[in-house]
């Protein structure tokens, strides 16, 4: 027995610790945060823990930068460290830094304790890293869950609020349906090819001519639905508005940026690498999803009184735009996606920053009414919100415009100009919900009886918001907002750095 074991003992897997450093940093930071969060003194819990989270994200960014330009496979082919991973990790960690600052003094962190809150955020980020770097079905699924589970908890983090819990449960149930779908899809992919590695799957498809096999395609179909769900693409988007609205706003901000980046990273890897030989089959359905998503996101966001809900629908629409970059299956398309994710995140996070600030300052919560009179009350925040809305709407001289321009260019280059045309026409609808926000901010008058000063109680959710409705939100919000808004403008005018950043995004995917 021992003999046979000895004969079968394989070589221990080679682990490139340096390459793995972003993941290790995140996991280590998570555990550290958790432990420090148990400390007695309140100051440590409320100040040091967020600092640790911030440091962790910073360290991760440092690791990412130190790995810049590399293209290596980690741990027996489980992970692929390449420019795509690194770029998206930057987006995610950037989102993490902002979300940490936003959550610093947030009620949600109080409710489930700071240590837990921030370590979950870091674990989620780790899951994202795994998801986008993964080049193996098993790892992908683990990554997917490592991403999802912390977010389920974080969504429900304001345990004293019904909405938060509802959001958590909804996310969990619907998310698990999605996970199960993905899992079944993965099972079928594995069944059809006998492989779990992405490139091996691609090879097997070509070798055994599986591109039109029903079993294989059923697997692709289930993966499509599952990932469409994770990336909140219509018609699998329905959890998004509810969860975004119910979840603590810093969590929503984090999700809207990081989850999206991670989901698209996974989609790109799975579809552009593993099942690309069957592109002819899946491309049309993704185009259809893109179109439906753009329509649903844009029309859904109209006349939503809740800012978070509006931003949720808007993020659905943005996901639809991003999908346009994906369905092209070109190098430029992937670059455009990455650029868009980078550029879009700035404005989106800035918007959430202001929403949070107003949640804390007024009794209106995330209602658009909370922004009334912002132009005179808080000019800095007003400018931030304005810039972010213009950026999301894709107005020139903002980052959002550059992102769309890049998408349009990629589409035109791939002979999909009509898709770009649909994109821009549908994005016109988005003016109808972004611009009224701007108008609300800057229009002089306030309607009597509904502004903060008159103290009309907010009906839903109640007590916590109302209690918080005094004083000014912390300086860090203004700082974050201003920095993001400045970045929006700077990248709107000088976008070349971003393009340089993403120039190599598709290297290693083997796209044309």
């Amino acid at each position: 027995m021992s003999f046979s074991l000895a004969a079968a003992v394989p070589a221990a897997p080679v682990i490139d610790w340096a390459g793995l450093s972003p993941l290790l940093a995140l996991l280590g930071g998570a555990i550290l945060a958790l432990i420090v969060g148990l400390a007695g003194p309140r100051t440590i819990r409320t100040q040091i823990v967020p600092l640790i989270a911030l440091a962790t994200f910073g360290a991760t960014i440092g690791c990412v930068i130190s790995l810049w330009g590399q293209s290596i496979v980690l741990i027996e082919g489980a992970l692929q460290l390449d420019p795509l991973t690194l770029i998206l990790m930057l987006v995610i960690c950037g989102g993490g830094v902002v979300a940490t600052l936003l959550a610093w003094r947030d009620q949600a962190a109080e409710d489930i304790a700071h240590g837990e809150f921030f370590s979950l955020m870091l674990l989620g980020a780790a899951g994202m890293f795994v998801l986008i770097a993964s080049r193996d079905l098993v790892t992908t699924f683990v990554g997917l869950e490592l991403l999802s589970l912390p977010l389920y908890i974080l969504c429900a983090a304001r345990v004293r609020e019904e909405r938060s819990l509802e959001a958590g449960l909804k996310y969990l149930i619907i998310g698990s349906v999605g996970s199960a779908t993905v899992l079944y899809g993965f099972a079928l992919l594995y069944g059809a090819t006998g492989q779990t590695g992405y490139s091996e799957i691609a090879a097997a498809i070509e070798a055994s001519n599986l591109a039109t096999d029903p079993l294989f395609l059923t697997g692709v179909a289930m993966c499509t639905v599952g990932f469409a769900f994770k990336a909140s693409l219509a018609p699998f988007h329905q959890w998004t508005p509810d969860v975004y609205e119910g979840a603590p706003t810093p969590v929503t901000a984090f999700m809207s940026v990081a989850t999206k980046a991670a989901a698209f990273g996974a989609i790109i890897r799975l579809f552009d690498v593993a099942v690309r030989p069957a592109a002819e089959a899946w491309q049309p359905i993704w185009i259809a999803i893109a179109l439906i998503t753009m329509v649903v996101g844009n029309v859904g966001a109209l006349r939503q009184p809740s800012m978070k809900r509006m931003l949720a629908y808007s993020s659905i629409a943005q996901a639809g735009y991003i999908l346009v970059g994906f369905v092209l299956i070109t190098d430029l398309g992937v670059q455009a996606i990455c650029a868009y994710l980078v550029l879009y995140s700035l404005g989106n996070l800035a918007a959430f920053t202001v929403v949070i600030a107003r949640e804390r300052e007024t009794a209106e919560g995330d209602n658009i009414a909370a922004l009334r009179g912002l132009g005179t009350e808080r000019p800095a925040l007003a400018v931030v919100m304005t810039i972010s809305m213009l950026s999301l709407a894709g107005i020139p001289a903002t980052a959002g415009f550059i992102g769309k321009l890049r998408l349009v260019e990629a589409a035109a280059a791939a002979d999909y100009a009509w898709l770009a045309a649909v994109l821009v026409v549908l994005s016109v609808i988005s003016m109808a919900y972004y611009l009224p926000v701007v108008a609300t901010i800057w229009r002089g008058e306030t309607q009597p009886g509904t502004d903060a000063a008159s103290g009309v109680p907010v009906l839903a959710g109640g007590a916590a918001e109302a209690e918080a409705a005094s004083g000014r939100a912390g300086w860090e919000l203004t700082l974050v907002g201003v920095v993001l808004a400045a970045a929006v403008i700077v990248f709107g005018i000088i976008p070349q750095p971003v393009f340089n950043l993403v120039a190599s995004a598709a290297r290693g995917l083997g796209l044309s």
Partner: protein, 99 residues
């Protein structure tokens, strides 16, 4: 016994689980139905693993078990929290967020 059969059983379990999610109102039972769906995936994985004779499917199944357990733990946690808030333990009543 060919793998086909196992797959058909797995497909049926998946379907039953999906139907359960759609019809049950008690979140506890919904969680159970989700377990069913994951288990369907597991059965398919084990079946394929047997078909190909590689262990990858088994590993996958084990990982899925862990994941299922984690999901359950979190799901139950939320349900308990809901119950504590004296909120209805009924997914149809959780419609504060909509529109």
């Amino acid at each position: 016994m060919s793998v086909n059969w196992y797959l058909l059983v797995s497909a049926m379990i998946f379907t039953l689980g999906a139907a359960g999610v759609m019809v049950r109102r008690n979140p506890l039972v919904v969680l159970l139905c989700l377990e069913l769906m994951l288990n369907a995936g597991n059965l398919a994985l084990i079946g394929f693993s047997r078909m190909w004779g590689t262990g990858a499917g088994e590993i996958f199944a084990i990982v899925v078990m862990v994941i299922a357990a984690c999901e359950v733990a979190i799901g139950l946690g939320i349900i308990v929290a809901l119950y504590r808030r004296r909120l209805p333990v009924d997914v149809d009543e959780l419609t504060e967020l909509h529109g």
